[in-house]
């Protein structure tokens, strides 16, 4: 499901017979999103699935909708997921210009529609580049994540006026539901990251504490002094503290592998 669709990388302003949107008897969106939350391996995978669903729900014969998700990460916008390579390229293009309809929607927290790029006077550079890529209309819907993060769903169409009023409310309703699932995914990701960080910290601390003890015994010095010796060795050789500690232990006992065990 996370794979990009093949052959979806180009735009065409001309109505085409193919590709028809998959007319699967749309399973109830809420159930679908719940499954996605449970199945997704990471945030990016989840967002890619979201982009694919958005794209297939809004596309109609002759008006294929390309979709991408931009997330603010470390104060910089980043294109993290897309339904296809064309959407990804457009998102990255906009982030490169640091301004455009999607980033404006993200900042303002409101939906933004550019019905016809040929008529648009704002964001001149980006609009020109997007037109050269075959885009004629853009719809940007921010995802309300209650301050946990910022993200926007970017929808591109090769037709001018490619988004009807109905499309806009569909996209907004979708973004609303998707946002609460995304918050859940983000929270799960944060917790498992914190857990992994803690596990690493326990491992590293075991090795370092052991080395500190060894240095104390060898030099008959205090814990603080032992720490000083170890940190000095680490910064003067530009080796991580943990690795210096491991070297100290193996120089004494030859042990290369110091493990800390947890119940997983």
């Amino acid at each position: 499901m996370t794979d990009h669709e093949h052959g979806a990388g180009s735009f065409s302003a001309f109505p085409q017979a193919a590709p028809a949107p998959v007319p699967t008897p749309a399973p109830d969106l809420e159930t679908r999103l719940k499954e996605l939350v449970l199945d997704s391996k990471d945030v990016v995978g989840f967002l890619t699935d979201l982009a694919l669903i958005a794209s297939s729900r809004l596309s109609s014969p002759g008006n294929r909708i390309h979709s991408g998700v931009t997330v603010m990460r470390r104060k910089r916008p980043e294109a993290v997921a897309s339904s296809d390579v064309a959407a990804r390229a457009l998102d990255e293009l906009q982030n490169g210009f640091k301004d455009g309809p999607c980033l404006t929607a993200l900042r303002n927290g409101t939906t933004l529609l550019v019905p016809d790029l040929a008529e648009e006077r704002r964001w001149a550079h980006y609009i020109k580049a997007a037109q050269e890529n075959g885009v004629s209309s853009i719809l940007a819907v921010p995802l309300n994540l209650a301050g946990e993060a910022e993200a926007v769903l970017n929808l591109y169409s090769g037709c001018s006026n490619g988004f009807t009023d109905e499309d806009i409310s569909t996209a907004e309703a979708f973004a609303n539901q998707a946002a609460s699932s995304l918050r859940l995914v983000l929270r799960i990701a944060q917790l498992s990251e914190a857990r992994n960080d803690l596990a690493l910290a326990m491992q590293s601390r075991t090795v370092i504490d052991m080395a500190i003890g060894a240095i104390m015994a060898e030099n008959r010095c205090s814990r603080d002094t032992a720490f000083q010796i170890l940190t000095k060795a680490s910064s003067s050789r530009n080796i991580k503290l943990r690795d210096v500690a491991a070297a100290v232990i193996s120089s004494i006992s030859g042990e290369k592998q110091i493990d800390t065990y947890f119940d997983e």
Partner: protein
């Protein structure tokens, strides 16, 4: 809370270090919890709230802890830029 113990003497020297580390932290958007966890893994002896206070220049801590905080930040940032 970290007990200051007998090594409070070293502190005057650390004013610059303190500002440097606190400022470096503000320039990154490293989450506090991530920094604390890493610092703890290096053998750090302060809790997260004391670390927060230190980074906001509201708490003086012994030189040894400052060195560990600075080291935690450096090692974390190295990992970031890869």
């Amino acid at each position: 809370m970290y007990s200051h113990g007998a090594d409070g003497q070293e502190q005057p020297d650390q004013a610059e270090d303190l500002r440097g580390t606190a400022e470096r932290f503000r320039r990154t958007d490293l989450p506090l919890a991530k920094l604390w966890t890493y610092y703890y893994g290096l053998g750090g002896g302060m809790d997260e709230m004391s670390l927060d206070a230190y980074l906001h220049e509201a708490l003086d801590v012994p030189a040894g802890q400052v060195a560990l905080i600075a080291m935690a930040m450096t090692e974390l940032m190295e990992g970031e830029s890869l």
